[in-house]
Symmetry: C2
Subunit: 372 residues, 2 copies
């Protein structure tokens, strides 16, 4: 009889713990899966002197990062990352981006043959030598495994509270479709899988740039329809970015939860919108507002805008992405927020006489480069 498959969750913050609730329950209904779900927990000593892993394993609750929600008893907290991952067929990466390289070091060359990863981490990775890559590409380069991704309009606490929402899983094979759908879908967490994993990740990274643009519009008091235009042009630039840099990207993936749904919630809620609005209303810099509003945590949108701008500049493509470019220039205070609309007034989206002519037209782009 075939050996059962094992899944491990690498990361136990609020999102990792919310996902553990789901995966822990689902594996119990899947005869091909081992019921034990190892959860890698970065060990901490709680105020009462107890170890976090011990509390999780006795009280079945992540009292530090997801208080008030029980973890299935088959979810086992493990303080050693290699111990948690070495027998896993499926690895869920859901730890903060900045800890990925260091955390993955002990795993190099030690994972099971044929193990597959799935990343829940949104954003691009900035390569030490410069340039950006997807988180899945980073994990693949560190660990040599195939990596899928899960991204959508999801908030850890809402998912823990079993509020109805959707998510998108980007895969490379049909087998991954089947297995990940069964591992993650519940009656409140509705999954669509797509054979376009890179685009799913690109959506999760780029939406934060657009959210900054939406925040600037809100701060300037421009009205709903101007905001809708900015969000839509942002989406068109996300699509164009995928078209340019990720061959085979599917248009339809942008209709999934990872695309329009996550973009919309991020542009109407979320910290990138909120801080960007405050940039306009207060006149303060992003840095000052990060200190005041986010306890010093860094805002993703401006960083992604910066990394994307470096890439576009290198490729001579800033004119094709006037919104991304304008948002970056506002974030670094090169131009003021009130100049954003001017930068997109002659957006390439509207320059051809009709939709069919708005393709990768580098000549048209060069003609209008003077609008920057």
């Amino acid at each position: 009889m075939a050996e059962k498959k094992k899944i491990a969750i690498i990361g136990s913050g609020n999102w990792g713990s919310a996902i553990a609730r789901i995966v822990g329950a689902n594996v119990r209904t899947m005869s091909m899966m081992d019921e034990e779900v190892k959860l890698w927990v970065f060990e901490e000593i709680l105020p009462d002197g107890r170890k976090l892993t011990e509390v999780i394993n006795t009280e079945h609750e992540n009292v530090k990062y997801l208080k008030g929600y029980s973890l299935p008893h088959n979810v086992v907290a493990v303080p050693d990352i290699l111990e948690s991952a070495k027998d896993a067929d499926y690895l869920v990466f859901v730890l903060p981006h900045q800890f990925l390289r260091s955390s993955c070091q002990p795993l190099r060359g030690k994972l099971k043959q044929g193990a597959v990863g799935i990343s829940l981490i949104k954003g691009f990775d900035l390569k030490p030598e410069g340039g950006i890559q997807l988180i899945s590409e980073l994990i693949n380069s560190l660990l040599g495994i195939d990596v899928c991704c899960l991204m959508g309009a999801n908030l850890a606490h809402e998912v823990a509270a079993e509020k109805f929402c959707e998510t998108t899983i980007g895969v490379h094979t049909d087998e991954q479709s089947l297995i990940f759908k069964d591992l993650f879908q519940t009656d409140f967490f509705r999954v669509t899988t797509v054979r376009d994993a890179k685009t799913v990740e690109v959506c999760g990274a780029l939406k934060n740039i657009v959210a900054c643009g939406a925040g600037f519009v809100d701060g300037l008091g421009y009205g709903d329809n101007t905001k809708a235009a900015v969000i839509r042009l942002g989406l068109m630039e996300m699509i164009k970015f995928a078209e340019y840099f990720y061959a085979g990207a599917k248009f339809s993936t942008f209709f999934e939860s990872c695309g329009i749904a996550d973009l919309v919630t991020t542009c109407y809620g979320g910290r990138n919108r909120r801080v960007s609005e405050a940039v306009v209303k207060s006149g303060k810099s992003i840095k000052q507002l990060e200190a005041e509003m986010l306890d010093g945590q860094r805002l993703q949108g401006p960083e992604t805008a910066h990394e994307v701008n470096a890439l576009l500049k290198a490729e001579g493509l800033e004119a094709r992405f006037p919104l991304f470019t304008a948002i970056h220039r506002i974030c670094v205070q090169e131009i003021s927020p009130s100049e954003m609309i001017e930068c997109i007034r002659m957006h390439p989206e509207h320059l051809a006489f009709d939709r069919r002519r708005v393709s990768i037209e580098r000549d048209v782009v060069n003609q209008y480069a003077s609008c920057l």
Copy 2:
């Protein structure tokens, strides 16, 4: 030398007047166009005893419907509809839907050979014999002319105030693309034309159903990501509706302003969302709230939901459109708003194991018909 072309605007409410500002200015830059733009104005006597058409033609302002914004002097108010339209090569239909049949009667058989219409009227038309049709189809059946359409995330007063926004023009020919783009685009009113006119109109009609769903979610206090899921599933049903009933509909048209942008603004602002939210919070019926909140005007969303439901029922397709169906049933108080999420928990969108299998699968639909 070729005769110049003429354009007439049929309707002079706030949207017709805002459009007249744009068209009136643009024709002056187009050597093929006659500078005079006739504006059909349903004559009214103002409180000071003067005729509305006379005030418009002397003071160049529609003091009743678009106060504070000047009309170009080449826009001429005409109280007789046949007089305004008989020499026109292009007719802009922008009057309230309920007056279309009666207003068009005098024009039957009297329009210029080869005249082309463009409808700015959102919504379906309910045929007297039952069933729905597009407004463009109604105009075509009444007047025998080809009809394009213009729809997007636009508000008359914002456009009059020259606030940056986008719109979509749906056409049938390249020539229409070129001419309508030139007639309507300005540096604040950014136009994309698409060779998919029916889908553009379908978007404008169906979005109001989804907006009611968004309002119910807001009233129930379900959170941003549940709302995003409802909006996205609504969009997926809009696409599926176009796929079923309008052969040749293009997926990409839903990415235009008429699609996602107008849907999003309508779901975050607008009367359909607002009244639907109040349905949940107050427990009152739509009819009561129309009286209280809209001065007795009728809300479009519930009407469209009803007309669409009749069509879906007749085709045995309610199970394929669980959100549209649930929204209709809530509007007619067959079920309560709190049941909406239950109706979409097993949405066909998520039933196939991956995206490629979510096509027009009538068998799958029948299997899950029990969820209604």
